[in-house]
């Protein structure tokens, strides 16, 4: 045991003889002594000199020991100042009163030196214990404050990044704890230049700050590449490569990435390690599971990463539902999991598609009794393209250097067609022309359709009539992947020509492919509509651009865009 450090001890005793006797004993034990002749003096001595411990006579004039003990305890606050009552009282009631008044112990007169020393020692131990507890409590409270503040700052910075997207779009509903970031949950949504919507629901391994650090780079890649018009595959490859590069081996991010195309009526899906998502068809009431087919992001090297996606048709009113494992792993009081079966029961019982979201929340509350903070859900529905208004892109340059008279030609050959998506580059180039910026959405959509027609129907020889129904839709995209893998030769050529015209200008786009062509007259006879799953591309191009025409038996497509003088 460590040697007793000298304490300052206040002795309150009205008898001068007793006071002297006690002072001598206590001093001899190595402590410093303060004295008081009554309770009022004792309180005053405590107030001015803060002794560590008090020896207090119970019966004193002016103010008795009970009252003085109460006042001293009140002054001491949280600090433990042990008070030992000195008493000749013997009735248990009186002794109990000493403790009730705030006394910690008592010592019977006449004084026994050995017992007095032992009691001072024991009270000192208690006093130190209390001091240590207070110190540690304050330390923890301080660290906790720091932590909350750090989280608040980190969250504020992250929210700026995460909410730069379109989570507030009318077709998105979501549920996420405000501190989901620190559970590793991540929800992002943004429009592509063509007006499609990309949505990501992700779940990093672990909790707290480690789970949050990967979210920022992932969000930046997502927003950056979505805004530039990259497809899901390129975006996924980049996100995976980035996470693989920066995260430790045992950290990764489960994620589902969606691309909803309002114009084409389809959804493209990639699921790596997330629970099944669901595609609900409003018309048939059917549910298609969007199952994880891939390892999470950040596990595989860029060389072995699998960016293959699946494409499903979607009609207006259909909705995609994604959730984190917090939903399925919600436990009740008996550690039973909510589970996929209960979730599917909620789906099956649903009568009003609009109420589904609340019904799941309600089922989770009924099951658990309280909300969990790592439950993330999002529902995205397909609206008419016109009901959504993607924000106009913001350009930072002055507009003085707009190039107005030029042309350029590209030829993309087989090895390039397999993996490279030239659209973001082409769009970026064209948007240097300020007159085209106001129609960037239509421009991108038309370019994307021309390119995918040339690639899929031309170079790959795919038959668009396959996309008549849902299963054909899936088969079409399987064939697309397979044929692209096997592609040896073929090309897509893109010719762009920009010319001034009066105060405005004209862009002419020609896209040629190495395919077999098609019966132009027959396709042109079809009415321009948007209801069928197949043949969408051609009507879209005719609606969004001028002078759309096909020559060379359909192997060469030509469209024009115009703009007037800029204000």
């Amino acid at each position: 045991m460590q040697p007793l450090e000298p304490l300052t001890i206040l002795i309150a005793e009205d008898s001068a003889a007793d006071r002297l006797l006690l002072s001598t004993i206590v001093r001899r034990q190595g402590h410093e002594v303060l004295t008081a002749a009554n309770g009022a003096e004792a309180v005053e001595a405590f107030r001015s000199q803060r002794p560590h411990l008090v020896l207090m006579d119970a019966m004193m004039p002016v103010m008795d020991g009970f009252e003085a003990a109460q006042q001293i305890k009140a002054l001491a606050g949280e600090t433990l100042v042990p008070i030992i009552f000195l008493t000749s009282l013997t009735e248990s009631e009186a002794l109990a009163r000493c403790l009730e008044a705030g006394g910690d112990d008592f010592l019977a007169k006449p004084y026994n030196q050995v017992i007095l020393a032992a009691k001072i020692k024991a009270m000192d131990r208690l006093r130190r214990l209390q001091a240590t507890v207070l110190e540690q409590r304050d330390l923890i409270a301080r660290h906790h404050d720091y932590l909350l503040n750090e989280q608040r700052v980190a969250k504020a910075v992250f929210d700026k990044v995460a909410h730069s997207g379109c989570l507030n779009a009318p077709n998105i509903r979501y549920l996420q704890s405000p501190y989901a970031l620190f559970n590793g949950d991540l929800l992002l949504a943004a429009f592509t230049p063509a007006g499609d919507m990309n949505v990501l629901l992700g779940d990093f391994t672990g909790h707290g700050l480690p789970a949050a650090v990967g979210a920022m780079p992932l969000a930046e890649v997502f927003y950056g590449m979505t805004a530039k018009g990259y497809g899901l595959s390129e975006t996924l490859r980049e996100m995976n490569a980035k996470l693989k590069r920066i995260l430790p081996v045992d950290m990764f991010c489960c994620a589902t990435l969606l691309c909803l195309s309002f114009q084409r009526g389809s959804v493209e899906v990639w699921n790596g390690g997330m629970p099944d998502g669901y595609l609900h068809s409003t018309a048939s009431g059917e549910r298609i599971a969007l199952t994880a087919r891939h390892l999470p992001l950040g596990v595989l090297s860029p060389q072995t990463f699998d960016d293959r996606t699946e494409v499903f048709p979607m009609a207006v009113g259909d909705r995609v539902f994604l959730l984190s494992d917090g939903v399925i792993d919600t436990c009740d009081a008996n550690e039973q999991l909510f589970g996929v079966e209960r979730l599917e029961q909620v789906f099956a019982a649903n009568r009003q598609p609009d109420a589904l979201f609340e019904e799941i929340e309600q089922a989770l509350r009924d099951f658990r009794g309280e909300a969990r903070d790592d439950v993330s859900m999002v529902e995205v529905s397909l609206l008419e393209a016109a009901q959504l208004s993607p924000p106009a892109p913001v350009y930072s340059d002055s507009g003085q250097s707009s190039p107005l008279d030029w042309s350029v030609s590209f030829e993309f050959r087989a090895a390039t067609l397999k993996r490279f998506n030239p659209l973001p580059y082409l769009l970026q180039l064209l948007l240097e022309v300020h007159g085209l910026r106001a129609q960037s959405g239509a421009l991108y959509s038309v370019l994307a359709e021309l390119y995918s027609n040339a690639l899929e129907h031309g170079v790959l020889g795919l038959d668009s009539s396959l996309k008549r129904d849902a299963s054909g839709f899936a088969r079409y995209y399987q064939q697309r992947n397979a044929r692209l893998d096997e592609l040896r030769d073929g090309y897509v050529r893109v010719h762009l020509q920009v010319m001034p015209k009066g105060e405005g200008g004209c862009l002419s786009i020609r896209v040629e492919d190495s395919g077999k062509g098609f019966d132009v007259a027959r396709v042109m006879e079809r009415p321009v509509d948007g209801v069928r799953l197949s043949g969408r591309g051609v009507s879209l191009i005719r609606q969004l651009s001028h002078h759309a025409r096909w020559t060379d038996n359909g192997r060469s497509a030509h469209v024009e865009f115009f703009w007037e003088a800029l204000a």
């Binding site: 672990g206 081996v249 950290m251 990764f252 489960c254 390892l295 999470p296 596990v299």
Partner: protein, 101 residues
């Protein structure tokens, strides 16, 4: 001990058995089970017969083990997984990295 290690007599096969919850609490023990060996085993078996639960940090630990054992050239089998554990491994598509049975 909730992580038990056994090396075959010829030193070529390491078996790591996990008992109870396979989560972040096992992190230290699990890493030590293969890092303290003097020679690198040719093959590793992770026995989950007595594992009741597995979370995403356990998946991370399996990735660490795989990395330690040589990444793509590693030979790791995960055996005796319960149907619940198998489900978690299946959602994560870990069967693409490990031989799971």
């Amino acid at each position: 001990m909730s992580v038990v290690t056994e090396v075959s007599q010829d030193g070529k096969k390491l078996t790591i058995s996990i008992e109870g919850r396979f989560d972040f609490g096992r992190h230290q023990e699990f890493r030590e089970s293969y890092e303290r060996l003097n020679s690198k085993p040719e093959s590793i078996v992770v026995d989950l017969k007595k594992a009741t639960y597995l979370d995403s940090s356990a998946l991370g630990m399996l990735l660490l083990l795989r990395d330690h054992a040589g990444g793509d050239s590693s030979d790791i089998r995960v055996v005796n997984s319960s149907s619940d554990v198998k489900k978690i491994l299946a959602i994560s598509n870990f069967d693409k990295l490990f031989d799971i049975s």
